[in-house]
């Protein structure tokens, strides 16, 4: 059995984001990066499945991005993945979800994976498209937003979240792809000995250009913070005058009196 986990490295979400010089994405200077939270659930589930099956499956972890993403890959290796693939692309942030999924598919096609785990979405872009698009390109069955996972004899049985607290059980035949949601599991902390062992595991670097032959289908054209809320208006002077002013404001700027 062969398992792929797709992970992304994202900034600490408590950072202060500023647009980059092109204005289409955030500037990544001075940001601290970590593994996307949902992808940690994906890594943990893949490693748990490997353990459940007595260590037989090979778990490959993949990330697209500049060289700093190797840190996220190393963490996944320290959590128990067997080997890593970096799809090297310093400009990954300019690729749309279709291109990212196409590039990953370009790698995954020749590898015959039985199961693919991804996060529900990335914490920075949040498109939630890469996982399902990848499944579509590969012809895999897929289920999103899983909060429970079991596997036996080529069938994965997952629990998904529905609206209003409802849950659904879905069975799917491999090859399959699932996107992982908060609540699926509690990711382990990499132990120090496992961080050391991870140093000896293979990290394969593949240039983006070798895998991607698709044009972008969408582009993020600008990136901006919400407008700053202006301060409130303080009415002053005679009370009767204040009432008139207030009525004018309510009539002109709100729908209260319409």
């Amino acid at each position: 059995m062969k398992i792929l986990v797709c992970i992304k490295q994202v900034p600490d979400m408590e950072s202060r984001f500023k647009p980059d010089s092109a204005g289409g994405w955030y500037s990544d200077t001075d940001l601290a990066f970590r593994m996307n939270e949902y992808d940690e659930y994906a890594v943990e589930q893949a490693v748990q499945l490997k353990e459940q099956l007595g260590g037989e499956p090979e778990v490959v972890v993949l990330s697209v991005g500049p060289d700093r993403v190797v840190e996220a890959l190393k963490k996944a290796l320290a959590m128990g993945c067997d080997r890593a693939v970096q799809v090297q692309d310093p400009a990954a942030h300019l690729k749309d979800p279709w291109q990212i999924a196409s590039a990953i598919a370009g790698y995954a096609k020749g590898e015959n994976f039985d199961l693919i785990f991804t996060g529900l979405q990335s914490q920075d872009r949040g498109s939630a498209q890469v996982g399902v698009t990848l499944a579509e390109i590969l012809g895999f069955s897929s289920v999103t937003t899983i909060v429970g996972f079991e596997y036996a004899d080529g069938t994965a049985t997952v629990r998904r979240e529905l609206e209003g607290g409802l849950k659904a059980r879905v069975q799917l035949k491999t090859p399959a792809l699932v996107t992982c949601q908060l609540g699926l599991n509690v990711p382990r902390y990499p132990t120090l000995p496992n961080i050391m062992k991870a140093k000896k595991k293979e990290i394969l670097t593949l240039p983006m250009a070798d895998l991607l032959h698709e044009e972008a289908r969408s582009a993020t054209v600008s990136f901006y913070p919400p407008p700053k809320r202006s301060g409130g208006i303080v009415l002053e002077g005679d009370v009767a005058l204040q009432v008139d002013q207030l009525l004018d404001i309510l009539r002109d700027k709100t729908t209260v009196l319409r």
Binding site: V70, T191, P193
Partner: protein, 381 residues
């Protein structure tokens, strides 16, 4: 020249940071108030490998370098200085000398239990009348057949309350001064080892600081560490390395307090604006940051020197001195930035202020560090 941590060091630091954020930080205040680190936390730290970071893998360690160990102590101490010193004293002062001076049999006999946390390590050098003047210890030993028999008293023993494994220093003949001192590895549950008390303290209250009476404690000759008469050298060499661990602890305390003060200065409003808009606060923040970064560079360099097999005595003393003085300075200013709230236990910087002070005292007072540094500067005279 490269001032960046390697990717592997970053993975380690971030992993420990995440663990500390979830498992240590939420109970740091409880640890201080209850004067105890929960056994469950000690077990979790051991499972993560924090109790044997630079010990070899075949002895249950993680096989990392000293800089990794420094990062571990720093990250843990950011949230809880008591937990930081547990790791530091255990690793530097007990595992360290067994690794450096123990024979293979001793390493195999003692280190796996220490790295796995089944036994917590400590270092029994200090006595009521022998602090900085460690050469004047009175605890004595004599040979009896295949055993050594040790008698005396020891105080201020970090981690002593666990009654795990101790490196005990004793003299065969006080007239020989330093040359009469030997070091022994002692199971602290051996008959004759009596815990007199665990001290009540100003800071690092979750850490045991223990007074022992040693009454005719019989240890097998196989437990002699190094050769007879080498004890003082073992003690000084151990403290020389251990100081970098205390520097890391102090650095962590300072960083923890700085993080809180910086965040607080942005949200606390007086006169209609955050207090960080005042230059008086801005200058404090700049001074605090400067002390921390200066201490960090020297501390990491000391670790790097030791990892590179170079002489690190000067940098080790410098790092301990600078980092501990950064810690007392920064924690004091952190309280000042918090104003009255800083004096209240809820805001935790008061605990950091209390925890910081000991770092100027233990593993060689800062006066002793200045002696070490100035002696090296004047060595050609």
């Amino acid at each position: 020249m490269d001032f960046e941590l390697s990717q592997d060091h970053k993975v380690l630091r971030d992993s420990v940071r995440e663990f500390v954020e979830h498992e240590v930080k939420p109970i740091a205040r409880q640890i201080d108030e209850e004067h105890m680190i929960p056994d469950a936390l000690v077990a979790k730290m051991a499972d993560l490998g924090l109790l044997g970071s630079y010990l070899p893998e075949e002895l249950g360690g993680a096989g990392m370098d000293l800089l990794s160990y420094i990062l571990v102590v720093e990250e843990v101490s950011k949230a809880c200085a008591s937990s930081g010193v547990l790791i530091s004293a255990h690793t530097s002062l007990c595992c360290g000398p067994i690794l450096s001076f123990g024979n293979e049999e001793q390493q195999r006999r003692w280190l796996p239990d220490l790295t796995s946390g089944r036994s917590i390590g400590c270092f029994l050098l200090t006595e009521p009348d022998a602090g900085s003047d460690a050469g004047s210890i009175k605890t004595s030993y004599r040979r009896e057949g295949d055993d050594f028999v040790i008698t005396g008293s020891k105080i201020f023993i970090t981690n002593g309350g666990y009654r795990g494994t101790g490196i005990v220093f004793a003299t065969s003949d006080r007239s020989l001064k330093h040359k009469g001192i030997s070091a022994f590895i002692v199971d602290l549950t051996t008959p004759g080892v009596e815990v007199l008390r665990n001290e009540e303290k100003m800071g690092i209250r979750g850490s045991y600081t223990t007074a022992f009476a040693l009454d005719q404690v019989r240890v097998p000759a196989a437990n002699l560490l190094g050769r007879e008469g080498e004890g003082f050298k073992i003690a000084m060499d151990t403290l020389n390395g251990g100081r970098i661990g205390i520097a890391a602890q102090a650095l962590g305390i300072a960083e923890g307090a700085f993080e809180r003060a910086l965040a607080y200065s942005k949200v606390r409003k007086q006169f209609g604006a955050p207090i960080c808009d005042n230059q008086a606060i801005q200058f404090k923040l700049a001074d605090m940051h400067a002390r921390i970064e200066g201490a960090r560079l020297v501390t990491y360099r000391a670790a790097w020197l030791k990892d590179a097999g170079k002489n690190y005595t000067l940098d080790s003393a410098l790092s301990k001195m600078l980092a501990s003085e950064a810690a007392t300075f920064v924690t004091k200013e952190a309280i000042q930035i918090h104003g009255g709230y800083g004096f209240i236990c809820d805001y935790e910087v008061e605990r950091m202020y209390r925890d910081a002070k000991i770092t100027e005292i233990y593993e060689g007072t800062n006066e002793v560090q200045r002696v070490v540094i100035s002696k090296l500067l004047l060595a050609d005279r």
